[in-house]
Symmetry: C2
Subunit: 143 residues, 2 copies
DNA sequence: TTCAAATTGACAGCATGCTGACTATTTGTA
DNA sequence: TACAAATAGTCAGCATGCTGTCAATTTGAA
């Protein structure tokens, strides 16, 4: 009998679901999803990158990121500018509105994080972060 | 600036993605997804329940579980039997084939778990499980 | 230089997860 | 009993995430 209730994979999926749900509710009035926020967070660090580079940095599938950008574009938060060195590619850039939202959205994210992590102590948060970073290992071998 | 690379929410989503991907690859030859395995794992504990009860036990949305059962039904692993006390409901039951797959699929799940958790020690696994259980808290208040 | 191979982004197709609306049925109350 | 409210399951619609395929373009090697 598989003890699914105590399996780490199952628990991660449910914890992920809970966090996602909390975040989703808070972002509702911006018409944004947690994934869209995630992409914006990378763009606030550096924009003007191509979709492929963004896909690698964010570890979001390159076909998925196309749709994400479509929707952020519709919301007027990012734009696709022509790439000066490659006519196949775009430079994905924040609009003024996309840039301006940083402070407001980050405050919301901080609130969500607090609510989400309320059940555990700050020490446990540190331990969890450390363990998760180890588990994130993606491309090992298979070149 | 939001340090998304070190935020627990982002890390959980990527760790979840990695685990899901490993599991998905291993289940490919059965035409099953990790979610379908998860539902089967609950059915191996107890079947004959209604979709709503299953939805509550598994914390899978009731509309999502309908589709999951559709596909498991097509694969011949579960069946929808009439509910003796409620003509609106079904009893979701494993077929012989669904029952027989338990051992084989659980062995695969064990292998996936091992591969997935390889980057951390058994002690860390215990700590992680404990923390995740605390973070799973779902319905607190709002009755 | 030329042309095959690789790359960029788009699209179709499928599964999951959620919302909201709908039908059929059951429950609980006046 | 009669009828409103609640419940079981379905469906449409949307976002994410992935696979596979395709056209346009760039790259690299003969």
């Amino acid at each position: 009998m598989y003890d699914i209730e105590n399996s780490i994979g199952f628990l991660i999926s449910k914890v992920y679901q809970r966090g996602f749900g909390i975040f989703k509710d808070e972002l509702e009035r911006y018409d944004l999803t947690p994934q869209q926020f995630g992409l914006l967070a990378f763009l606030w660090i550096e924009d003007g990158l191509s979709q492929t580079v963004l896909s690698q940095k964010t570890q979001i599938d390159r076909t998925t990121i196309g749709g994400l950008i479509d929707r952020l574009e519709k919301l007027g938060l990012v734009g696709r500018l022509p790439h000066p060195e490659d006519r196949r590619a775009y430079r994905i850039c924040l609009t003024d509105r996309g840039t301006d939202l940083e402070k407001e959205l980050c405050a919301i994210a901080a609130g969500v994080t607090q609510k989400f992590l309320a059940p555990i102590t700050p020490e446990e948060q540190t331990v969890l972060r450390t363990i998760l970073k180890k588990l994130r290992t993606s491309q090992e071998g298979t070149p």
